[in-house]
């Protein structure tokens, strides 16, 4: 058996989701290999080489890998897939975009959002917004998986560096072309890996309220900001702040849900948090059924009061 992890990175650093994916890979095999494809990505490759359990890094450096376009990347992975029993990537938008394409080119199944590894061919993953856990045996020779990052601890740096091998780049298929990227500016920690998350829902009422009320709380707690779908749809915050079944999955130490009713689609994204606090003026809101601490109150009173109390 031999496991290859497809790294998600920004050419300089590996993303935290990649570290979790490597940790998952190490539950399948005691040593694993990592593919770093990018443009001027040697720093990311060096970082991967220094992780405990990584035995080799394969680095493909070319300008047409800069924007992680699925067609070129999938072709590269498939061209270098011989000999591997497992191909893994994080269940981020990067991995979800790439891995089904890789699997279909290999004519094998792909398993999404793996949250536990029972055996080299047997995996657990959530379905139906996390309301059921499915245990599946992969019958194909090559197992292609995306890994739910919050379900695995991050791989850690070791004492030695594995060799970095340079892979020849594949052709630029030119099926798609990068045009532009609009990053949602925020000086807050990254939502997917933050220790504390403060999320707001429809009850915030406006973008101005959302920021005026929740930013001081997030600052006080060193938290990332998240939101329900209703808050995103209403334009209070950027799309990639959405927590839930069809948004981001988070599992922080502390999740504070402000004016979020607790629809199953939202719970799917946050119910693995260690401690959940809910602030909602409706005593019957479903969010209270999963909250460790529930406060029935108007957010416009309770949140500023909470910010003050935390300062004391």
């Amino acid at each position: 058996m031999s496991v290859l992890v497809i790294a998600e990175h920004d050419n300089q650093r590996l993303r935290p989701v990649t570290l979790a994916t490597i940790a998952a890979a190490l539950q399948i095999e005691p040593s694993v290999e990592v593919l770093v494809a990018g443009s001027a990505c040697s720093a990311a490759a060096e970082e991967a080489a220094c992780l405990t359990g990584v035995s080799r890094v394969r680095c493909a450096d070319a300008s047409h890998y800069e924007h992680e376009l699925a067609e070129n990347l999938a072709a590269l992975v498939v061209a270098n897939a011989a000999g591997y029993s497992h191909l893994l990537a994080p269940a981020s938008t990067f991995g979800k975009n790439l891995m089904p394409r890789v699997a279909a080119l290999l004519d094998v199944a792909q398993l999404s959002d793996v949250s536990a590894i029972e055996a080299a061919d047997t995996f657990v993953h959530p379905i139906y917004a996390g309301n059921a856990l499915e245990t599946v045996r992969c019958l194909d020779a090559v197992k292609v998986l995306t890994i739910r990052p919050t379900a695995f601890d991050a791989a850690v740096p070791g004492n030695s560096a594995a060799p970095v091998e340079h892979l020849p780049a594949g052709p630029d298929l030119a099926l798609s072309r990068f045009v532009s990227r609009e990053t949602s500016a925020s000086d807050r920690p990254e939502l997917g890996s933050a220790r504390v998350v403060v999320s707001g829902g429809r009850g915030l009422g406006s973008a101005d309220n959302f920021h005026a009320v929740l930013t001081p709380l997030a600052e006080r707690l060193g938290a990332a900001l998240g939101a329900s779908r209703a808050a995103v749809d209403a334009g209070f915050v950027p799309n990639d702040w959405q927590v839930g079944q069809t948004g981001k999955i988070v599992a922080p130490e502390l999740y504070v849900a402000v004016a979020i009713s607790g629809a199953i689609q939202h719970l799917a994204g946050m119910k693995e948090s260690r401690v959940i606090v809910a602030i909602n003026k409706d005593p019957d809101a479903a969010i209270f059924q999963v909250a460790d601490y529930g406060l029935v109150a108007d957010l416009f009173d309770a949140v500023p009061e909470l910010v003050d109390a935390l300062a004391r």
Binding site: R101, A104, P238, A297
Partner: protein, 249 residues
């Protein structure tokens, strides 16, 4: 240009599903089924393209058992021109669906396929990407904006960290995200009209596609339940609990 929209029949998003006590799967008997919400968005986008004169025909395709024709009728009521049911009683996994859809693409030659990004039952988020791979086409997943150009499409994608715009060569597969559009409702007259629109059937055998599962489901179990905790009377108590009991701040 012909636009193909694959639509899946799934448990309605409002249903709180139950896991069967024998762990053989999720209880589907007597449960309300609907079109996958992301596929409603896909149908809507396709119809808007036709209304804008950018598409000539919208073809809805569903793979699965006989009742999937209800989902196809919904697509027709929303405005699709015709429908195709790939009928099989076999449980279909995303690779099998993608291979069936690829066989349909070979027959239909659409200029664009618009899928949902994710079916809310299996939460797989795979089929569109797999179809694009099987056809050797470009893919643009998680679309929140689509602008058709000459032989290409500019698609804004919802990605971690923000929005990304790419340009894909046509034919291509696009998968919809929540913010692409707000789907219309089917009106009664359109539901009546949909009954007369053509709905063809084909089988996997006729398409020469092997749909045997590649993933063997061993068990479907209930996730660990979270219990409701304490109702705190005020902010001061909340802070005390977070500091001294949960020790999280």
């Amino acid at each position: 240009m012909k636009v193909m929209v694959p639509v899946k029949r799934v448990v309605d998003y409002n249903v709180k599903i139950r896991v069967r006590p024998d762990e053989s799967g999720v209880e589907l008997d007597g449960v309300k089924m609907s079109m996958n919400p992301f596929d409603e968005i896909a149908v809507e986008e396709a119809i808007r393209l036709r209304e804008a004169g950018l598409a000539s025909e919208v073809v809805a395709v569903s793979c699965g058992p006989e009742p999937c024709q209800e989902t196809l009728r919904t697509a027709l009521a929303l405005g699709a021109d015709r429908a195709l049911l790939v009928e099989t009683a076999q449980t279909l996994q995303p690779l099998a669906v993608a291979r069936l859809l690829a066989a349909v693409c070979e027959r239909e030659s659409p200029g664009l396929v618009i899928c949902g990004k994710q079916a809310i039952d299996d939460d797989a988020n795979q089929t569109g990407q797999m179809l694009a791979a099987r056809m050797g086409w470009a893919q643009a997943t998680f679309a929140s904006k689509l602008v058709l150009g000459d032989g290409c499409a500019e698609v804004t994608r919802e990605v971690d960290g923000g929005l990304e715009t790419i340009s894909v060569q046509l034919p291509a597969v696009i998968t919809t995200d929540l913010r692409l559009n707000e789907p219309r409702y089917a009106t009664l007259p359109n539901i009546m009209k949909a009954r007369k629109k053509p709905l063809d059937r084909v089988t996997p055998e006729e398409l020469a596609v092997d749909v045997s599962p590649r993933l063997q489901v061993l068990r479907v179990s209930e996730p660990p339940k979270r219990r409701a905790g304490e109702r705190v009377p005020d902010v001061a108590t909340l802070v005390e609990r977070l500091r001294n009991q949960a020790k999280v701040i």
